[in-house]
Amino acid sequence: MAHRTKSSMSWTILWTSIVLVIVVGCTLGSNSSLVHAAFSSHHRRHPLRQTWAPAILTRLVNSPKTIPGTWDSKNLIQWQLFSQNPWNEDHIHNNDDNENPAPDDDNILSLIDSTTGEDVQPRVYPQRWIQLACLSALALMSDWICFSVAAAPETYELVYQHSSASLIDLFLFTNVASCFLVTDVVAKIGLERAVKNSAVLMTIGCWLRSGIAFWNPIATTTTTTTTAAVAAAAAAASSSSSSSLLVSYPWVVVGTILVGAAQPFFQCTPPVLSALWFADTERATSTAVALNFNQVGIATAFLVGGAMATDVPGLAHYFGLIAIVCTIVTIATLWQFQEEPPVPPSASELEKKISGKKEPPFLESVQKFFQTRGFSKALAAFICSISITNIVGAFIAEIMERGGITDRLQIDLSGAAFEFAIVLGGILIGGYVDRTKKYKFVTLACLAATLFTIIPLGLTEHRIGQGQYASDDSKNHVIHE
C-alpha cells in the first residue's frame, strides 16, 4: 500500500507538472509584440493590424485567368481593404457598382495591401500555437472536471450521499443542451469572447465546487487511505473539521452545471480555430490536438483523482487543485487568446472572409448540412469513433481484468496509455491527412485497424487473452451461452 501510495503521488506530481507546463508554455510562448498585442483588447492595436490600417479598397477587373493547380498571387481575389474591419461587407466596394463580391469568369480577384502595393497572400503566425495551447488546455480542464471523481468515487459518495455517476450525467446533459447554443453564441460574439467567457464560467464553477476552505491547514492534518477510514471520516463529516473543507452538495451541483455549460465552447470550436489560424496543411493536426486533448483530461482525472481523493481532506485538496489549475489556464487564455489573425491562413478562408457571408442560425445550418452529399457518412464515422473510445474508456477496468491486469494503478496507467494513444494517433495520422488530403482512405484504414484491435479486448479465456496474472474472480462472472 505504501509503495502504491508513493507511486500514486509520483504520478500526481508528474501529471500536475504536465498541466503546468502546458499553461506556462501557453503563457510564455509568444514573442513580445504579440504579448503587447494581447494586452490590448482590440485587434486594431495589434502591430500587424496597424500595417493594414490605411488600406483602401478597389477592385481590379479583367485580370488573366488562372491555371488550375498553380499558385499565383496576382490571381487571388484582388481587393484592398478598409482599416477598421477589413472583412466587413459594408466596406467592400468596386468600380462597376457590383455589390456582390463573388467572382465571375471575367473578374479574377486578389488581395492587395495598399500600404506596400503588394498582393496579400495567406499567411500563418506563431500565435496560432498559443491559440491551440489555450484551447487544448481548456478542453483538458473541462473533462478533468467532468470525470474528477470517477476514479475514486467512494470518498465522494460517502461524503455527499450521491453517486459520482449522477454528477457525470448532470455534466453531460448540460453539455448536450449547451451544444445547441454554442454555434449561435460564437456567431454573435465571436470566438475570442465566447472562449474567454466560457473559461471564466468554468473557473467560477470550479471554485463553487471546491470552495476556499481547503486552504485550512488545521483541518488537513488527517490522512486516511483505506475505505474503512474514509467511511469513518465521512460518517463524522457533519461535525468534524474535515467536513468544513468541502462545500455543500448544491454548490457542487451548480458548479458542475456551469462547467458542463462551458465545455462545448472548447469541444465544438477546434475546427473553426483551425480554419481561422492554421494553413490547409496543418488543419487536421491542429483539430486533432484540440479535439482529443480532452482525453488527456480524462487520464488526468483517473491518475490524479485516484491518488488524491482517497479521503475527505484529499478530496478537498483535489477539488482545490483543479480550481487553481483552472484559474491559471483561464488567466493564460484571457491574456493570450485572440479572435483571428490579421491575414487569413488559407485561400479558402480568405475567400470566405471576402464574401462577407454571415453564418445562418444553427438549425438552418443543420438542415443544410444533411442535404450536403457525404455529410452523413462523415458524421457516422465520427459517431463510431467517439462511441468506441467512450465505451472502452467507461469499461476500461473490466476490459483490463479480462486480460489479467487487475491492479488498480496498472489499470489507471493502461487507461492513461489509451487516452495518450488517441492524442498521439491524432497528431501522427492527422499530419498525414494534412499532407495528402486522403480523408477517405485514412478513415477506412483506421476503421479496419479498429476492427482488428477490438477483438483482443473481448477475449477472456482459453489460450488467448487470459494472462497468467489474472485473478480467478475475473473468470467467475463470465456467463457461457
Partner: protein, 151 residues
C-alpha cells in the same frame, strides 16, 4: 491468428491492442470533423462540430448501457480448434458490429472536397475547374498546395 497466438497467455496482447485501438479509433474523430468542414465549405465550422458532438454524445450515451448488458454475455470462438479456441465478450461484438457497419457505410463516401479545392485553385474562378471529378477525394491530392507565408 498467428499474431494473436504468438501473444497468448500474456496481458501484453491486451495492452498493445488497447494502445493500437486508441491510435486507430481516436484520429477518426478529428479527421472526419475536418472532412465535414471541407465538404460543407463555406459552412460554419462550429455548427458542423456541434452536430457531430451532439450526435456522438447521444449515440454513445445510448450505447453504454447496451454495452454494459452485452459485456455479461460470452461467445465461443473456434471451439473445435484447441490451439485457437477462445471466447469473446458481447460488448466487443457490439463494437465490432458498429465499426463494421460504419466502414461499409463510409466506403461509399465520394463527396467533393470544396474547401480543399478552394485552397488549391489559385484564382477563385469556378470555371477553371474542368471536371467535377477534380473535386473528388481521389483527385484532390494530385494538386499541389500553394505556399503559405510564415510570419
Amino acid at each position: 491468428v498467428f499474431f494473436l497466438s504468438f501473444f497468448s497467455e500474456e496481458p501484453l496482447l491486451l495492452l498493445m491492442s488497447l494502445i493500437g485501438l486508441g491510435m486507430a479509433a481516436g484520429p477518426i474523430q478529428p479527421i472526419n470533423a475536418e472532412l465535414s468542414c471541407d465538404i460543407t465549405y463555406p459552412g460554419d465550422e462550429t455548427a458542423v462540430e456541434s452536430v457531430q458532438q451532439i450526435g456522438g454524445n447521444m449515440i454513445s450515451a445510448l450505447l453504454v448501457p447496451v454495452a454494459e448488458f452485452a459485456s455479461r454475455r460470452d461467445y465461443l470462438l473456434l471451439p473445435n480448434n484447441p490451439l485457437l479456441e477462445s471466447d469473446i465478450r458481447g460488448d466487443c461484438l457490439l463494437l465490432l458490429t458498429v465499426a463494421a457497419l460504419t466502414m461499409a457505410y463510409f466506403s461509399t463516401f465520394d463527396a467533393p472536397l470544396a474547401r480543399t479545392m478552394a485552397d488549391r485553385r489559385s484564382g477563385s474562378d469556378p470555371s477553371t475547374i474542368a471536371d467535377i471529378s477534380d473535386l473528388l477525394p481521389s483527385k484532390i491530392s494530385e494538386s499541389p498546395s500553394p505556399p503559405v507565408q510564415q510570419i
